[in-house]
Symmetry: C2
Subunit: 250 residues, 2 copies
């Protein structure tokens, strides 16, 4: 079940163009045949990403991937939990390029980038997976939609089949930032950062994001994906989140 | 000039252990021989990262890489600019695993993750490069040091050999967040987000981070790298930056 092709351009690639335009983000076309690693690096000219193609994909079971991400978290934390749950499954079901991808390269995203509390590591894992599976343009739309989904939903939602403990509460972050998301949960739940309960909450959030990523990847594969969230830069006239008053209330 | 080996453990791997302990971040040992892509994914057990080894490295010229990153920015923005400037050079000088690494997988980090203003994309590129070149543990120390360096230096510093325009001003972000960093520069420089001057500022910051990343990678290769910045989570009892009053002043 690899991409269906039509006159040398896959339908998923055509969807890419449409999705990207809908999200209002400008980028080079992802249609072509030259792979990036073979592209010469001129030094005074940007490397072309034309020809970067989505990797072959087989639809995955969102709940199975969520359960895997939950358990992966306990070994390698949030960023690699999401990436490895999905890419590890594709390594087995699809093989090919997934066999050589060094998933450990994004493990450092945990704690919002080695503990700096910036982008939630689950989203770093998800964004990288989306780029590999759906290519540059659709990948950015999927990442954008996932950051919005993360921000506006009360998490964690997923109930592990084999949980380490009960989950105390859910909370809405209104932000894709680790620091904001974790702090709102800690305040509501009444647990400090270095507690088993906070760790389990983050493992469940990894499950949620891995699950939702698979939901969107499956939609792309079915040609049923429509980008839903607009462009942050165009909305705010700069790069920004939507929870402005969390920081600018004074 | 690949890693020197001693009883099956490279000196760079030994340095990894020391550096990681110094940074106060807990992780599995990176010493071993099993590569991650071959590791079975059990589903209810985290994937082992034991055996993940640093990729072979040849020392690079920091100024050459900075110039490349500056020009790369104009094609693929911040995250890929840093990653491709370094990994593209290693693809040519070292080859091996660099030939297959899909650098486009982190292009979506631009604008603090497709425009959400979170982690500066230059640091997403740098952190990924550090993980590949120096392995999981030293990679996290290098990423941690780079985020601190980014936060406390007035940027951009680098003067391109072939600039697109003059650089108006430098500014200190006190944060690794794109939104904060760009906003402080815009306020000081008097330019809006969608201006050539702001874009050129970000291209120069990409050059700065690519350059500093190479400085640290060269130190690791020379066994001359000492982690300098402490652990954010231990300092703040949660994931956080150091510019607390930027958001919590009220």
């Amino acid at each position: 079940m690899t991409n269906s092709k039509n006159e040398g351009i896959s339908r998923r690639e055509l969807l890419i163009g449409a999705g990207y335009a809908a999200a209002g983000i400008a980028a080079a076309s992802a249609v072509g045949s030259v792979s990036l690693p073979g592209t010469a690096s001129a030094g005074k000219k940007a490397t072309s990403v034309e020809g970067v193609e989505p990797w072959p994909y087989k639809k995955l079971d969102p709940d199975k991937i969520a359960e895997k991400a939950y358990h992966e978290w306990y070994g390698n934390f949030c960023s690699m939990a999401v990436a490895e749950a999905i890419l590890g499954e594709l390594r087995e079901k699809v093989g090919g390029p997934y066999k050589d991808f060094p998933v450990h390269s994004i493990r450092w995203g945990h704690g919002g980038a080695v503990g700096w509390g910036t982008l939630c590591g689950t989203l770093m894992g998800a964004g990288t997976v989306a780029a590999l599976v759906t290519g540059i343009e659709t990948g950015e739309s999927v990442a954008n939609d996932l950051m919005y989904w993360y921000s506006v939903n009360s998490l964690p939602k997923y109930k592990p089949q084999d949980p380490k403990m009960d989950a105390p509460v859910t909370s809405r972050a209104d932000s894709p930032l680790c620091h904001v998301s974790v702090n709102k949960w800690m305040t509501k739940a009444g647990y400090e950062f270095f507690t088993p309960e906070r760790k389990d909450r983050c493992a469940r959030v990894a499950a949620d994001i891995a699950r939702q990523t698979v939901v969107l990847l499956n939609q792309v594969q079915d040609l049923d994906y429509e980008p839903t969230h607009g462009n942050q830069m165009k909305t705010h006239d700069m790069t920004a989140q939507n929870n402005c008053l969390d920081c600018h209330s004074s």
